[in-house]
Amino acid sequence: MKSYLILRVVAKLLIPFVLMFALYVQFHGDYGPGGGFQAGVILAAGIIFYALIYGLADARRIAPDWVVELLLAAGVLLYAGVGVAGILLGGNFLDYFVLAADPVRGQLRGILLVEAGVGMTVCGVMLKIFYMFAGRGEAQR
């Protein structure tokens, strides 16, 4: 779809807002609708949109395979790591109260980290699945 001028211009205009909206959904999830899951999907959708218009090779240059695979695993590790941190600081697994001196601050910190983990894994998995599917089509052609 590289030759469609209108699509390319519209994509260039839209993608920054899509990525910005993903960050908003991620970090505003405590106050409004949204959270890590939705943010991860929106972020992945922005990059997939780019890949559809500009081609898979260009998208792979922005989000290389190793970054995607790192995201995919790091999210789960971050989430579980917050849980283990709770144990190390003298609480239960996934106990956020002990993460800061003030229990409510600890909760906020724990929720922020956990949501970030969810977002990273979801974004990584969605992108990886798309890369695998789209890459197969290109290899066959």
């Binding site: 609708p33 997939i48 695993a73 909760q107 929720i111 979801v122 699945i129 197969r136």
Partner: protein, 179 residues
């Protein structure tokens, strides 16, 4: 007003599903799936479940459509076979549907405050959630904090799905002598 909107959306969804079942062109099927997801997301907004609506719109209408289109680019866009309509699956689906409708008759009325769901832990989440977690959005507080262990399980499910896809498709490529 709200019930009118929901009823119109439900009728549109039923129409989408009916057309979907009769369509043989897979590209049209994917687009209809996407339309169905958007209608579902709108119904969720009408029911004030904004978080669910967001997920439905982004996953159901966004990512699924893209993945199905990517899969479609690997195969032909016309459904193979077809032939005579078989009545057994239709009868089975109708029976299951009617049983489910019969099941809903036993549920408490919609948004009944005395329903069992609202009398167990939900009251505590609503009354103490903000004070205990400092998060105004109760959905986030429940997902990330009160039910944090369940959400860890969900993330692991998504992770496993990704790893499974990688394991399946990578091996195929190595077997085909690609890279």
């Amino acid at each position: 007003m709200e019930s009118t909107i929901i009823n119109v959306l439900l009728i549109l969804m039923a129409a989408a599903v009916t057309v979907l079942a009769r369509t043989r062109n897979l590209f049209a099927v994917v687009v209809l799936f996407s339309i169905y997801s958007f209608l579902m997301a709108t119904a969720m907004v009408a029911l004030d479940a904004v978080d669910v609506a967001m997920t439905e719109a982004s996953v159901g209408a966004g990512i699924s459509t893209v993945l199905l289109l990517a899969a479609l680019s690997l195969c032909r866009s016309q459904e193979a076979g077809g032939g005579q309509p078989t009545w057994l699956p239709l009868a089975l689906a109708c029976t299951c549907g009617l049983l489910l409708v019969y099941g809903t008759l036993g549920l408490p009325a919609f948004s009944d405050p005395d329903a069992p769901v609202h009398t167990h832990v939900a009251r505590r989440y609503i009354e103490l959630g903000q004070a205990e977690t400092g998060v105004p959005n109760t959905v986030t507080a429940v997902l990330a904090s009160y039910r944090g262990f369940d959400t860890l399980g969900e993330v692991l499910v998504i992770f496993t799905a990704g790893v499974g896809i990688v394991a399946l498709l990578r091996r195929r490529r190595a077997g085909g002598g690609g890279r």
